[in-house]
């Protein structure tokens, strides 16, 4: 059971600071067991089941898909436009179903806008797929060769998953930029997306980490949750990278197997032609045919290794980077608060000095500054607490989504493996049957412990 406290404080901050752009709708319902407290230190445990109930109540009916990639223009200025379709039951959109055309830089632009606004509050903003100069150059030249087709499909699927993650996030869905992205016909072109190439994105995350590392005052955590969780996230990211590298190797080896099987099949066919014994010649030619079919199946398997398994890992490596980023944002908030406190301290010391030196006009200014900084300290402290609460809530939501995602992708992966497998079986069965002198099997029924095969008479 997971114990956390958040509802009380989210509501409190919403009431106190007025409407915030990312007001969480799930906090608007009645809380059966929570009680409002003034102190951030009070912890109100709420069970995981209750959180689940709340989420179920507010199931957003927004479905997005990214389809129909189309190459627009020619030469080096060409780009690919995707159809972004939305289906929704929410009233905040202009209609129930609609679509727009977007290009890759539009997606990056959306991310930039969201991350600037939302990550400051500790929100985990899903990162988009990386830019790829090599991949795009090939596509600009021609969209028909297999590697370009694979590249475009990979990007399309990644953009779709990116959007789905954005709209399933309760705070982000409320963001006007998201609505604009989904609805507006003429979206102004995003500029400065160079910063959001793969390298640029990492740079941004690492800049935040560097700032944290350079902090001279180390945070004294009363609650080890943040430290522990951060460590977990770092470890997990490292492991996922390792796993991704191995899966990449698997994809390559399976592609090699494809190639080697095809080449072998051809060689078998030639051998079958050379063979002077008729029956053996036919057996060798048929083996060549079976191996040819195996090549197709290895091909399918390599595709699902890549598109389902490898891409799942790549997505979550990026996502964990974003999670790390929001932990760092919290640290920066803490840093701001500490710096304000030390500035306040300096102002108080300055005031004391002025009192002693007896300079009344400067004293007035000093008192004003102290008041200003006292307000700031209070504000920054509250910001820090709020961002801490948001980070906790975001992380828990992220973990839940991740478990769901992994489960569904693993099932998809296994199902595709199984489908391929079910097709191997009759191929070899047919071959074996011909070998032992029966005709081609014409129907196979299977039950738990046995298979019944009916052969057609030759």
């Amino acid at each position: 059971m997971i114990v956390f406290s958040l509802e009380a404080h989210v509501e409190l901050s919403a009431d106190e600071c007025g409407s915030s752009a990312h007001k969480d709708p799930s906090s608007s319902g009645p809380r059966p067991t929570s009680s409002f407290t003034q102190s951030p230190a009070a912890r109100q445990p709420t069970s995981l089941e209750q959180l689940e109930e709340e989420e179920a109540k507010d199931s957003f009916d927004v479905d997005v898909s990214v389809t129909s990639p189309e190459k627009i223009g020619d030469g080096m200025n060409a780009y690919v436009a995707y159809k972004v379709s939305t289906r929704t039951s929410l009233n905040m959109f202009r209609s129930k179903t609609f679509f727009v055309r977007r290009r890759f830089s539009d997606f990056l632009g959306l991310y930039e806008k969201l991350s600037v606004k939302q990550s400051l509050h500790g929100c985990i903003v899903p990162p988009p797929p990386e830019k790829s100069v090599v991949g795009m150059t090939k596509v600009k030249v021609g969209m028909d060769d297999p590697s370009s087709v694979e590249f475009v499909e990979r990007r399309r699927a990644a953009l779709e998953r990116y959007l789905q993650r954005v709209v399933s996030h309760p705070s982000l869905l409320q963001d006007p930029d998201v609505r604009e992205f989904l609805e507006r016909e003429d979206l102004p072109r995003a500029v400065n997306t160079q910063a959001l190439s793969g390298a640029g994105f990492l740079k941004m995350i690492n800049k935040a980490s560097d700032a944290v590392n350079k902090m001279t005052i180390k945070m004294n955590e009363s609650d080890t949750w943040f430290e522990d969780k951060f460590q977990e996230v770092e470890n997990e990211e490292q492991q996922l990278r390792k796993l991704h590298a191995v899966v990449d190797s698997l994809v390559n080896h399976r592609k090699e197997l494809c190639m080697n099987t095809a080449v072998f099949a051809k060689s078998m066919a030639m051998l079958g032609n050379s063979e002077d014994n008729t029956a053996l010649s036919r057996a060798l030619s048929q083996l060549a045919e079976v191996e040819d079919k195996m090549e197709q199946l290895h091909q399918e398997q390599a595709a699902s290794d890549f598109f389902i398994f490898a891409e799942l890992l790549a997505d979550y490596i990026r996502m964990l980077g974003a999670v790390r980023g929001c932990f760092d944002q919290r640290m920066r908030a803490w840093q701001r608060w500490q710096e304000a406190q030390s500035t306040l301290q300096k102002k108080r010391e300055a005031e004391a000095k002025l009192l002693w030196a007896n300079k009344p006009d400067k004293l007035q200014q000093a008192k004003e500054e102290i008041t200003e900084w006292e307000a700031r300290v209070t504000q920054y402290e509250r910001d820090f607490d709020r961002i801490g609460m948001t980070v906790r809530k975001e992380v828990l939501r992220f973990e839940k989504e991740k478990a769901k995602d992994f489960k569904s992708q693993i099932i998809k992966y296994l199902e595709s493996m199984l489908q391929s497998e079910q097709r191997w079986f009759p191929e070899w069965l047919g071959y074996w049957a011909l070998g032992i002198g029966k005709g081609k099997p014409c129907c196979v029924t299977t039950s738990d412990n046995s298979a019944h095969i009916v052969f057609q008479d030759t």
Partner: protein, 406 residues
């Protein structure tokens, strides 16, 4: 009746007990024990065993090749040297990568390595055994004196081998080796049967050599995939043990799945190796032996033609006619003998090849079917396990999926 079976002993390591398996560095480190059971009176005992090394088999093969009386026979191809290069390379890589692997991953890869080593071992035993079985089932070769010595002589053969080498001097060996396709195609063929055989064997040899190489590559890819599965399983396992969320059990199941799949993949690779690649490799060598027979016959034909020319010359010069006539007769007799026995050998070779191919291809298909079934049931099991959260739903899941398959 002569029957030969082959048992091998693993080399006892003289080093202290260590973690890494000790792989034979040289072929003489593999020691074979040849066990013979016979009812023939030419042998001293009805049942006996002798220790032999790979070099002893080669010696036996070479003496048979160099025996003129057997020129018209297909001499069974010599077994290839035990080749542990693959496992050795893998062991090297394992040693290098040890630092970056978890203990579990390392153990699994070591297991895989040991399995591969065992597979090479089994293969080399099989190939040496087949060589002896071919000899013992051949009506002429199984009476060979050197074959008997090989089976019976209970001292170290290497001393005897050295003496024998001096006797033969490798003359015939060189002769056979220097003969090439030019020689065969240069000689005018009088017999349709041999003409066809020549064309067929030359073509078939190059095709089967190609297929063997391609099959080896295919098997290698399967092995690489099995290795990837090990690493994936190990990494998923560490991810799962560090995970404290709902994802933990999904990762655990995935790790188990890949562990089971890699065992199947490993078996697919080794079955394919034994039934397909080894089959092709063996017949490639056998066809080379058949080609050697054709070379010898072509040589005999060339000798016969030269002797004819010599006889004509002698008749012209009216000098040494009886010698020339006798020489010509000998050449003709030799050529006829080779042709007659050659025809028989090549015909039975064809039959043998068809039977062996059929047997192996059927067995391979059966194994592929078995593997497909095993993999399917593994995948099915894990789909249900992951989809369902308790036993009842699990059973229901299986039924649902099975119904959809029919």
């Amino acid at each position: 009746m002569l029957k030969a079976t082959l048992k091998t002993k693993r080399l006892h390591s003289t080093q202290s007990v260590s973690d890494t398996p000790h792989l034979p560095q040289l072929s003489r480190e593999v020691k074979f024990t040849v066990h013979t059971k016979t009812t023939l009176s030419s042998f001293q005992k009805p049942e006996f065993s002798v220790p032999r090394q790979h070099e002893d088999f080669i010696w036996l093969h070479d003496t048979l090749v160099e025996t003129e009386d057997y020129a018209g026979l297909i001499i069974p191809p010599a077994p290839p040297k035990p080749d542990f290069e693959g496992p050795r390379e893998k062991m090297h890589k394992l040693g290098e990568g040890e630092a970056t692997m978890t203990k579990e991953e390392y153990t699994k890869m070591k297991q895989e390595l040991e399995a591969e080593y065992l597979a090479v071992f089994k293969k080399t035993v099989q190939v040496h055994e087949i060589f002896l079985q071919r000899l013992s089932s051949h009506p002429i070769l199984n009476k060979d004196r050197n074959f008997q010595i090989f089976l019976e002589y209970d001292q170290d053969l290497s001393v005897r081998r050295k003496n024998a080498k001096e006797m033969f001097g490798g003359f015939f060996k060189n002769m056979v080796k220097s003969a090439d396709e030019v020689l065969i195609s240069g000689v005018k063929e009088v017999d349709d049967f041999f003409e066809q055989e020549k064309t067929f064997l030359l073509d078939y040899y190059s095709k089967i050599k190609d297929s063997t190489a391609k099959a080896e590559k295919m098997t290698r890819s399967h092995k690489n995939i099995a290795d990837d599965y090990i690493r994936i399983s190990a990494t998923l396992n560490s991810l799962s043990s560090d995970d404290s969320t709902a994802n933990k059990k999904h990762l655990e199941k995935m790790s188990d799945l890949f562990e089971k799949l890699r065992k199947v993949e490993g078996r697919v690779a080794s079955d394919q190796e034994l039934k397909l690649t080894e089959l092709l490799r063996y017949y490639m060598r056998d066809i080379q032996a058949a080609k050697d027979l054709l070379y010898r016959r072509a040589r005999a034909l060339a000798d016969y033609e030269n002797s004819n020319k010599a006889l004509d010359k002698a008749r012209l010069k009216s000098k040494d006619i009886p010698q020339a006539e006798e020489h010509q007769q000998q050449c003709l007799q030799k050529f006829d003998k080779l042709s007659e026995s050659g025809k028989k050998e090549l015909t039975s070779f064809k039959g043998r090849r068809v039977v062996a191919f059929r047997k192996n291809l059927i067995e391979m298909a059966e194994l592929e079917i078995k593997h497909a079934k095993v993999r399917s049931s593994i995948q099915l099991y894990y789909i249900c396990f992951i989809m369902c959260t308790n036993e009842l739903q699990y059973a229901w899941g299986i039924c649902k999926i099975l119904c959809e398959q029919i």
